[in-house]
Symmetry: C2
Subunit: 660 residues, 2 copies
């Protein structure tokens, strides 16, 4: 396209950026203005191709993105009145509510990881399809976000995997939110650092010179023979296009008022409002090349009795190992499954998958933030990523998991070595906040299986269902307690009741029964306690809440109606775990449906309300743990069978005293 | 010291490393063995000085650390029988239970950030004391952890601050847990990357050659004229000293069995068990140079009526701004207070402190993980660090916060822009999981004030008390509702009751009263609802739970005894927030003290148990939010006054139906 038309497009985009943010009364116009020429050259200069992917890592430049699609005629130009308005797809930072966006951005430093995932996925798919070079992935980065370590994790892994289909464009506009960035306009130092991480770099001296940008992009497209990813480092001016904004501090994240807008638009000069330009090779079907849900092609797992012979009742198998076994089976039946490891695959047993399907296994090394971003990227180009590390270290990727929910990510996260039950390694290696973290994500599903069979089957459930799933596995071996025919589902639980002959007394009175609620390692402690209590004639019913979120509310509420003594026991810190989740279910009802629920309550005479005495005891990890054997630590934290029995007895003594 | 004695020391350390891990039955001997000469040269070669600091970033090499102090005669040599045993200070990964350790390590990639904090703190203190060059900070890094982005965050900020008192030693033993690291033995590439980040580097070709190591360390100590931090990059052999371990895969994190130990010890040859060597200039007082609690010198804030005139009832001030005001006052009265910013100081209002005390303000740029590590380091050399960013982005530092609890960190974290009430910027910028995150840390304190006065005073409470504190602030302005004389404390709350003349009816029946529990922005919505309900003759009592953790359990339980209709409303996702915390208090009791509590219950006839019907409704953010005005979003999520009123009414309709 001729330079003149590109310049007209730039003008129209500046107009839309400035006008939309003033209309909204907020936004980041100056961060958009620095990247106008970079974006226009990419999208309208013939570089961006139909199947390519684009990620706006500097998500606060959202209006720039919207204006590109407006110029391309893909969205109506009246978007400028809808920016940041309630219910509009033109949000303050991009989310997939805007149909041309794959992932939400706005927490800086995450876009390049997603790009790495997409580039890996495209290459894997291209190889399969016999295509030599697949589409490209383009990531627009801000210079402030280069301070985030995650960017360097993405850089190192991109060169490690020789992702020559990945191109990043760095908008070096010098100014951050409140001051100059660490490196200012020092493109040379950026280049030195990025090259040392194994990338090609191209410096653009004037990031507003369409000719220079185009020449640089041409070079990249031509030299696709390199086996390196490429970074374009472009010196730009924040606020470019309105003299009173250019390179000025104090203008980050600020919309112009109406007077200022007038002045700015006057400076821009005459706008050709009719300038419309198809993005070369890019039509309305832009997103259809990877149709939404491509990643979700449901290849229902067969659950074809494929449990191996050693998955027999009472056999001892670590749940983390059963996860590995399940992954291998899933890998056979679903070619879209890929697995990511943070260099602990021999601890999480993902190495089983690696041995069988090395081409679908990606070593992410010890860089958890990037691993989650890469998984998200893979999920957006048609793959179904599982990933794992020690549960403790998943906390490192909380921001990335949080953002994945806004990207409608379909990612499966597995945390091993949970709880104090890992033993001697000490607290730094114990996942004790992971349930709280994963439950807090709005639409997550959280599983915590207790044996190999349930782990095996829940891993398949994760593969069969869309969304962010978390599976918590245990380091030590646990006995298999479920048969091959047992079913495990989202929101399910298992009730363990002893056969009456095991009880000394024939039937317990309602007041003397005890309900033990547990999951994972503490389920086994609860079952031990149940046996012991039975010898003394105390009847305990044990619920295995393997689905910690969502909980099986109906079962819990029904049993809590019958049994007034309730003990929840978990290998996790007290806040945000199973105990609080259960307390909330017993005491509460969902607010979103409070009205409706109350209606339902009326129908069944309000039975769901608390109408009886309840003794609720929550056993959890309440002391800072230390090294020791698993048994010593479960004992120390008072979450073992003995602690359960002690609690049961003190409740019963208490009850009898109250009665007498 | 002569080379011969150093070699004897190395042998003894190898003996202790191998023996202790075999005794323990687990541990990481091979990761210790690669760094023996590096550590011995540093500690016994005259380089490490009395006031220097040392951080073992590769925490899994803990036995190496213990054996150094054993050789120095500072701990008894029978530690080798106590490694990883319950109750022993010789944990699997170091924690401050071992008295010569300042911070817990074992989550890789965190040590260098702590070192940066210590180096910054030492320099700040040295400047104050008029000392030209202060002590040095030494950090021993593993090569696997170089994949963590946080290390690069620490590298970039260390050179930005020209920390020539910081020396890192990189143990390049080539092998990670399950495979070769990304760069293997490529010291040149490490050097290129690290130099590009503004460091001096020194390559040690043979990291087991005591002479070469000593020469390199001498160079560093001599050339203290540089204004750069220095990294020693040493090629080593994992498992060095036992031929069957050397440079072999499959030996990470594995102790030798007794037969293997015999062979290894035979190879080591005769050990001089009496080799004892004071660490030059280092005596038992090693830790006393910065005595424990130095950081905690309590300079009680005066609360001297220093509220500014604009802190008047009904005045509108954003709590984030009140935080800034309070910081300034604290800065005046306590010279140890330092402030860290993640380049959003004009959003969090830390820039107020920056203007007043620029030398105690540290810009950490957009790198939250490192910011938290640096704060921890500062706290360990006598400073009291406050830090803030948007609450949403604090999730990025969860692993670092988690580890800080094991380091007994004294750090004050502030998250601004919490909840959907921020408005137009969209979900990526909204802190909606932060309460869950911060509550999950075992001994944390979590504040969520609703107005400027409570924020101002709670910031001072944070300064006056040891530990990990979190303060949640709000973007928008809120009216001041508390007078200057009000007191705010850890575990406190405020009860808001309308004067009876505002009620149409004189006194409500017990069953018709409503208890509204809220904090922060939803407190104001609750107070609005209270006014509205009063007009219709419905009495609502509002509790401001500004101390979300610990909660004021007594007050909540007492009111919940009197009032059966309870609504908790919060601007946070449902899991792990205020609602679940309150449910747990109402339903449960502390397990740690369950027995004792039950005793107490007996004394007051079990009143704390649930003996009545309770209608518990939990209003929280239950839909993925979007852009919009604060009002629209509070409405959409059904956490505004209108939603509260609707809930109150449906409960009451329900009650009357049940009764009739």
């Amino acid at each position: 396209m001729e330079d003149k038309k590109l310049k007209e497009i730039c003008k129209k985009i500046r107009y839309e950026v400035l006008t939309s943010t003033t209309n909204a009364g907020s936004g980041h116009p100056t961060s958009c203005l620095s990247a106008v020429e970079l974006s226009v050259a990419l999208f309208f200069g013939g570089f961006f191709q139909a199947e390519d992917k684009f990620i706006l890592s500097k998500g606060h430049a959202a209006p720039l993105l919207y204006s590109i699609y407006s110029v391309a005629g893909l969205i109506p130009s009246d978007w400028i009145y809808k920016l940041r308005k309630f219910g509009s797809p033109y949000e303050g930072h991009p989310t997939p509510r805007f149909p041309y966006v794959d992932v939400a951005t706005g927490s800086l430093g995450q876009g390049l990881s997603v790009g790495v995932g997409m580039a890996l996925g495209i290459r894997l798919r291209s190889k399969k399809d016999g295509i030599e070079t697949g589409p490209k992935v383009w990531v627009l980065l801000g210079d402030s976000e280069m301070a985030e370590g995650q960017v360097w994790e993405a850089l190192e892994i991109a060169s490690y995997y020789k992702l020559n289909n990945l191109v990043a464009i760095l908008d070096v506009n010098r100014l951050g939110q409140s001051r100059e960035t660490m490196l200012g306009w020092d493109s040379e130092t950026y280049a030195k650092r990025i090259e040392s991480f194994g990338w090609e770099t191209v410096i653009v001296k004037d990031g507003h010179d369409l000719v220079e940008i185009s020449q640089s992009l041409s070079k990249i497209v031509k030299t696709a023979t390199t086996d390196k990813p490429t970074m374009v480092i472009a010196r730009t001016i924040k606020g470019k296009g309105a003299s009173f904004l250019e390179n000025k501090e104090g203008w980050h994240g600020k919309a112009l008022d109406k007077e200022e807008l007038k002045i700015a638009l006057k400076e821009l000069g005459k706008i050709d409002f009719n300038v419309l330009s198809k993005i070369d090779n890019l039509t309305d079907s832009v997103s259809d090349s990877f149709p939404p849900g491509f990643g979700s092609q449901k290849v229902a797992s067969t659950l074809s009795g494929s449990l191996s012979p050693r998955h027999l009742l009472n056999y001892q198998v670590a749940t983390r190992e059963a996860y590995g076994d399940s992954l291998v089976e899933l890998g056979e039946e679903n070619p879209n499954i890929v697995v990511l490891d943070a260099e602990v695959g021999n601890s999480t047993y993902e190495n089983k998958f690696q041995k069988k399907f090395p081409e679908r296994f990606f070593q992410m090394f010890i860089a958890e933030q990037n691993m989650i971003g890469v998984a998200l990227g893979l999920s957006k180009v048609g793959f179904l990523p599982f990933m794992s590390t020690l549960a403790a270290f998943l906390t490192r990727g909380f921001d990335q998991i949080r953002m994945a929910q806004y990207s409608q990510g379909n990612i499966k996260i597995v945390g091993s070595h949970c709880g104090v039950s890992i033993g001697a390694d000490g607290p730094s290696q114990m996942g004790l906040e992971d349930i709280a973290m994963m439950r807090s994500v709005l639409k997550s599903v959280v599983f915590y299986p207790s044996d190999a069979v349930s782990t095996y089957k829940l891993t398949k459930v994760m593969a069969d269902n869309q969304g962010i799933f978390y599976l918590r596995t245990t380091r030590g071996k646990t006995p298999i307690i479920y048969g091959e025919d047992e079913e495990f589902k989202i929101g399910g639980c298992k009730v363990h009741q002893l056969k009456s002959q095991k009880l000394k007394v024939k039937s317990s009175s309602k007041n003397s029964k005890v309900l033990l609620i547990a999951a994972g390692i503490t389920l086994h402690e609860s079952l031990k306690a149940q046996e012991e209590l039975a010898k003394e004639g105390i009847e305990a019913i044990v619920i295995d809440c393997y689905s910690i979120k969502p909980l099986d509310k109906v079962t819990i509420i029904n049993y809590s109606k019958e049994i007034k003594n309730i003990i929840v026991v978990e290998d996790h810190y007290p806040a945000g775990g199973l105990g609080e989740a259960v307390a909330n279910v017993i005491l509460g009802r969902s607010p979103a449906t409070a009205g409706r629920r109350l209606q339902n309550l009326d129908n069944d005479s309000g039975q769901a309300r608390m109408t009886r005495e309840i003794n609720f005891v929550h056993l959890a990890v309440r002391k800072i743990p230390c090294s020791g054997t698993p048994e010593e630590l479960l004992r120390y934290e008072e979450i073992d069978s003995q602690a359960i029995i002690t609690s049961v007895k003190s409740i019963r003594i208490h009850n009898s005293k109250v009665k007498s």
